[in-house]
Amino acid sequence: MEKQTYSRRFFLTTSSLLATFAFIPESVKAFYSNVKKLVIRPKEELRFLVTINKKKYRINADSRTTLLDLVREQLQLTGTKKGCDHGQCGACTVHVDGQRVLSCLTLAAMVQDKNVTTIEGLADGDKLHPMQQAFIECDGFQCGYCTPGQIMSAVACVNEGHTGSVEEIKEFMSGNLCRCGAYNGIVESIQKVAR
């Protein structure tokens, strides 16, 4: 990776200087806009390799791109959903090296050389994952938008061994919001698979 032209320290010094400039005459303030122009940085493109759903991808991504936007906007893997973009709803849950992860809080660059599984990679060809099958049978969804995230979390919930009781399942699935309130079916699906 190329060395950054403007460091974090530069930002901090610049902004504290700017705060001081607020009390300084117009002539000096003119300098402000010049400084500000400097901080509008060109985008930085990062190149790295990542394995998504057992397929190797050579990525060329904006350094600001999240894993969520990478899969949705660049790779057309739109099964992973954006529900808040701030780690508050769980709709974007994917697995990174087998752990459940919020892809909206993960910069794309952070999954360099890692194994990512999205909802598209859960089924074995046409054969659905047991959790996917259970969600259909138990009607564990309505609108379906939170569903991929629910299923990714549900699979992790079973793997983590948090299925001892309805209460435990509910607790460990509460990071995945469902506004339709299909919670009855979600819990039933997980119980079915955990059995």
């Binding site: 122009k37 509008i40 600001r64 609108c143 379906g144 938008y145 607790e171 919001l177 469902c178």
Partner: protein, 735 residues
């Protein structure tokens, strides 16, 4: 002869939804997920003041960002015929004339839209847009404003207030509810593509493609058919997609401006600002009864907020006029304009708000009377006739619902005196309330395409926002044709398909079921017409006597295979189309769906935490077409009721006009752990007058009254009457 006569024993086996695989594998495409070549991204910039006029917008910094293509503002936008002048804007009734005004009506109102090659570039550039304003005084304070606005009669007064001034039992109280926000999990999104100068393609999140199509055809002054709206998968609505919002319009303008397809997905904080909410409300109820518990009269005053640029009337007192027999009744309402964005219908609109007050008031009265709230309600239900117009209810099984619910929750275990049942630090209580919703039906169209192999595709423009419309269409088509479900596909959510009303107000299934039945009959008749060329007996065949299978058509044991039918008539594809809507039955009867909500709660005496132990909902939704999907709707609505009762509120900073904590970390609705396994039961008796399947909508009634049931249970547990939603732990501890 209808459905019930000829196929009385059909059991709908609960099974997976028709779109199940698409949803669990992530292959179903929601609005923002279509790949459109050469598409760029839009991001909206909101105003930083709550009222005023834009003096200038500074775009210089934003334009320096690489990848920025253009920036729309009120000074730089394409010409829209429907917004050509002030008069046209007024006539359009669009609400906020986005980019066609320099006036600011609320904080966060879009003042610019940055269009860039990538989402990151557009987002960054949008953060660099700033504006100067002439700032006006903004008012966002509902609590302080509503007393200054007088309420006026809504609906005809029955009897008089004076006539029950001397009854022995009267309660009078005020009830308030904070702003609540729909927050479907899918954020509203649009991809707009002008395929030619006057042809527009929209991938859009909404609850009614024809509504979107009509709105923009008018605004752009192009034929309706030139606009194609695609909303095949809709990630929830709850009312937020029932009208056309400014951001969709902005995206279309952007696509026009840069001559490229543009995609916009609102951010979650923008979801609180730009697609409506349930307005904050204040209500006052005075209700009286004689010593037997017969209701003597009710006086209901309701006020709620609206925006300064557009009026919205929620209809809070409607429910007061329909559930019980009140010989004396007065309902009044008013709306209170504030510098906030426009509210809109949210699940169980109006009735949900009204039912909270009325059902709590009745509960209060029951304790005064020392009568069981179940008995008190049963005694006063208007079960035979709609009290509003005197028409007979086509069906109304609310009494049965109440009785069934009481059994399911073990109501007999409830202590009539509050605060009697404890479990360590927990106080336990039971509560109940009812909900009702006018069962509507709209005119809808459908078509069926039959392929050479005998498979059919049932099609309509109606969307499926998660209610199970597509699955119900498949089920109904199976019941009315005989073709196996595996051979029935469904296409919906596209404006090129036969027109249908928006999916809202619990009218979806009621409207589309008639259309599907009519289309099945049309298909049978068409096939019988071809069959009659091979066998004369088919000439007089009536649709109801014709049976289809996966391999052919039969009538009175005369079977003709599709293969021979196709070959003899040189057919490739058979298509039938029909529409169906309400008729004279609406003059004769009133129609309602209803629900009885029961719950058992525990309230922690030290922390004020409320836990719902058990929640029961018994619904009269007529004939249940798909029990699994219907139960899912109702238990989901109960989760909505839990949110409404205990956690949902969007506070407003009255100093600056800002929303506070407007994201999913700040705004809480029920998560999995907040909701018990909800127990749902149905009356499941067909309403033979409403439509050919006898099913009534049930999406709204699942939430109407549920918040009151919880508030009533909290009273029964603690003896504390909380009349201000949401009932958060601090309120319980302070009461």
């Amino acid at each position: 002869m209808g459905f019930f006569d000829n196929q009385p024993d059909i059991q709908h086996i609960p099974e997976g939804r028709i779109e199940g695989i698409a949803k669990v594998t992530g292959s179903g495409k929601y609005a923002a997920e279509y790949k459109v070549n050469n598409q760029c991204y839009g991001v909206l910039v909101g105003s930083s003041v709550a009222a005023g006029t834009i003096k200038s917008i500074s775009l210089d910094d934003a334009k320096q960002v690489a990848g920025v293509i253009d920036i729309l503002t009120h000074q730089h936008k394409p010409f829209v015929p429907g917004f050509a002048d002030e008069a046209k804007i007024k006539e359009a009734h669009f609400g906020l004339p986005i980019f066609y005004t320099d006036k600011i009506y609320f904080k966060g109102q879009p003042i610019a839209m940055v269009i860039a090659e990538t989402l990151e570039e557009a987002t960054y550039a949008a953060s660099l847009v700033s504006a100067d304003y002439t700032i006006d005084k903004a008012n966002v304070d509902f609590d302080k404003s509503h007393p200054g606005i007088a309420a006026s009669n809504t609906g005809k007064e029955r009897g008089s207030l004076d006539s029950w001034s001397n009854v022995p039992y009267v309660t009078e109280a005020e009830y308030t509810i904070q702003n609540e926000v729909h927050n479907p999990m899918e954020m509203h999104a649009t991809i707009a593509q002008w395929t030619s100068d006057d042809k527009l393609k929209l991938y859009d999140k909404n609850q009614g493609v024809n509504n979107v199509q009509r709105t923009f055809a008018k605004l752009w002054n192009i034929p309706t058919g030139n606009i194609e709206v695609i909303s095949e998968f809709v990630g929830g609505g709850f009312g937020s997609g029932l009208r056309v919002w400014p951001h969709t319009f902005a995206t279309i303008m952007a696509a026009r401006q840069v001559k490229r397809p543009v995609k916009l997905m609102l951010t979650r904080p923008q979801m609180f600002l730009l697609v409506g909410y349930r307005p904050a409300s204040w209500q006052k109820i005075k209700i009286g009864a004689d010593s037997n518990g017969q209701f003597a009269g009710i006086w209901h005053i309701a006020k709620h907020s609206t925006s300064v640029y557009e009026n919205f009337e929620d209809g809070i007192t409607r429910i007061t006029r329909m559930v019980y027999k009140f010989s004396n009744l007065k309902t009044e309402s008013a709306i209170v304009p504030l510098n906030l964005s426009a509210p809109t219908w949210m699940r169980g609109p109006g009735d949900c708000t009204g039912a909270f007050a009325v059902e709590c008031a009745i509960d209060e009265l029951s304790y005064q009377l020392k009568q069981d709230p179940v008995e008190l309600r049963l005694k006063n239900l208007a079960i035979e006739k709609d009290p509003e117009n005197g028409k007979t209810w086509s069906t109304n099984f609310l009494n049965e619902g109440i009785q069934k619910g009481a059994t399911m929750i073990n109501w007999k275990n409830r202590q009539p005196v509050p605060g009697q049942e404890t479990d360590g630090d927990w106080k336990i209580g039971y509560g109940m309330a009812v909900g009702m919703w006018g069962a509507g039906r709209g005119k809808a169209g459908a078509s069926i395409k039959m392929q050479r192999d005998g498979t059919i595709t049932v099609r309509t423009a109606m969307t499926d926002i998660g209610t199970g419309t597509g699955t119900a269409m498949q089920n109904i088509a199976h019941d009315f044709t005989g073709i196996s479900k595996n051979n029935i596909k469904v296409e919906l959510g596209n404006s090129n398909l036969p027109p249908a009303p928006s999916q809202g107000g619990s009218t979806g299934l009621s409207s589309i079921s008639g259309a599907v039945v009519a289309t099945c009959e049309a298909l049978k008749q068409k096939l019988a017409g071809y069959a009659s060329l091979q066998n004369d007996v088919y000439k007089d065949a009536l649709a109801k006597d014709i049976l289809l299978s996966d391999t052919g058509i039969s009538y009175k044991a005369n079977f003709i295979s599709y293969a021979s039918l196709w070959e003899k008539n040189n057919l490739d594809l058979v298509e039938a189309e029909a529409s169906s809507g309400p008729g004279e039955e609406r003059q004769k009867f009133s129609f309602c769906s209803s629900a009885a909500h029961f719950c058992r709660v525990r309230v922690h005496s030290k922390t004020g935490k409320v836990k719902i132990d058990k929640m029961v909902c018994v619904v009269d939704g007529g004939k249940i077409v798909n029990e699994k999907a219907a139960a899912n709707q109702v238990s989901g609505a109960a989760a909505g009721g839990i949110g409404m009762a205990l956690m949902e509120e969007q506070p407003v900073d009255t100093r600056y006009g800002s929303l506070v904590g407007n994201d999913l970390a700040g705004y809480h609705f029920a998560v999995n752990a907040d909701s018990p396994i909800v127990e749902v039961a149905f009356i499941n008796k067909p309403d033979v007058n409403i439509n050919p399947t006898g099913s009534k909508g049930l999406g709204e009634v699942g939430i109407i009254g549920s918040a009151a049931a919880i508030a009533n249970a909290i009273y029964n547990a603690t003896g504390k009457r909380l009349r201000n939603l949401p009932i958060t732990p601090d309120k319980i501890l302070q009461a």
